[in-house]
């Protein structure tokens, strides 16, 4: 209670020097932008694991009374947690940020296909354009890492 009133008082001081029309950093455009769904995933992970800690916490406080019986139970629970963790790991839920190697691999695959197709086309046309794929390559690499 005291802490709260103390902080409230401080906020009152802030308002003493209010002056709305000046200064600051100019913001450009709307900031209501869409961000990676990866953040949602983290939120879900947190929700799941944080709730699971509740169980561990409630076990921790009474684990002496529960003894080995409870230990085995929690062990099973923890093993389940690990299974889930491994599962998520393998499924890429824990890959935060882009994985350069994967993108490169996928891109190469794509490129091979494309170049193969282009080779056919060029053979048909009787003219080869070897530099074009390389240029494209550079360009897209930039865009994926950016």
């Amino acid at each position: 209670m005291l802490g709260l009133s103390f902080v409230l008082g401080q906020r009152h001081k802030e308002r003493a020097t209010e002056d709305p029309y000046e200064g600051g950093i100019l913001s450009t455009g709307s900031a209501r932008l869409r961000f990676s769904s990866q953040f949602y995933l983290i939120a879900m992970l947190f929700v799941i694991f944080d709730v699971e800690t509740i169980f561990i916490v409630s076990w921790a406080i009474a684990f002496r009374e529960l003894g080995w019986y409870g230990y085995v139970g929690v062990m099973i629970f923890v093993i389940l947690l690990f299974v889930v963790l491994i599962y998520e790991w393998r499924n890429g839920a824990l890959d935060f940020g882009p994985d350069g190697k994967k993108i490169l691999k996928a891109y190469k695959k794509l490129n091979q296909k494309k170049s193969a197709a282009e080779n056919i086309v060029s053979k048909v046309n009787g003219a080869s354009q070897p530099h074009v794929p390389a240029l494209k390559n550079k360009h897209t690499n930039q865009s994926t890492t950016a």
């Binding site: 879900m44 929700v47 799941i48 699971e52 509740i54 169980f55």
Partner: protein
């Protein structure tokens, strides 16, 4: 601290529950509907704790932890679904999700 009477606790839980109920009914944004449902669940959890306190048993709290877990799982799935739906509909308006009728 004074002990709170069972009736008061239940009434509080009931009010929370009703609030959740009403807002599920009137909200159109799916996320808000989800939140309202969570409120209802938590109201039920509160009622359990009050009931457990009345009988001086830990059962109520145990139940509350389970409810919490379940609510968490529900939110996770719910968020994922909402995200998917948003990708397809580009809106969170519950009324937009009306492809099925009859």
């Amino acid at each position: 601290m004074n002990t709170i009477s069972v009736e008061a606790g239940l009434i509080l839980a009931g009010i929370l529950f009703m609030l959740g109920l009403i807002s599920v009914m009137i909200r159109r944004n799916i996320i808000f509907m989800l939140i309202s449902v969570e409120i209802m669940l938590n109201a039920a959890g509160l009622a359990f704790i009050v009931a457990g306190a009345r009988w001086a048993q830990p059962d109520g709290q145990v139940m509350f932890i389970f409810i919490l877990t379940m609510a968490a799982a529900e939110v996770s799935v719910g968020l994922a679904l909402i995200l998917q739906l948003y990708h397809q509909l580009k809106t969170l308006d519950g009324d937009a999700a009306n492809k099925m009728k009859g």
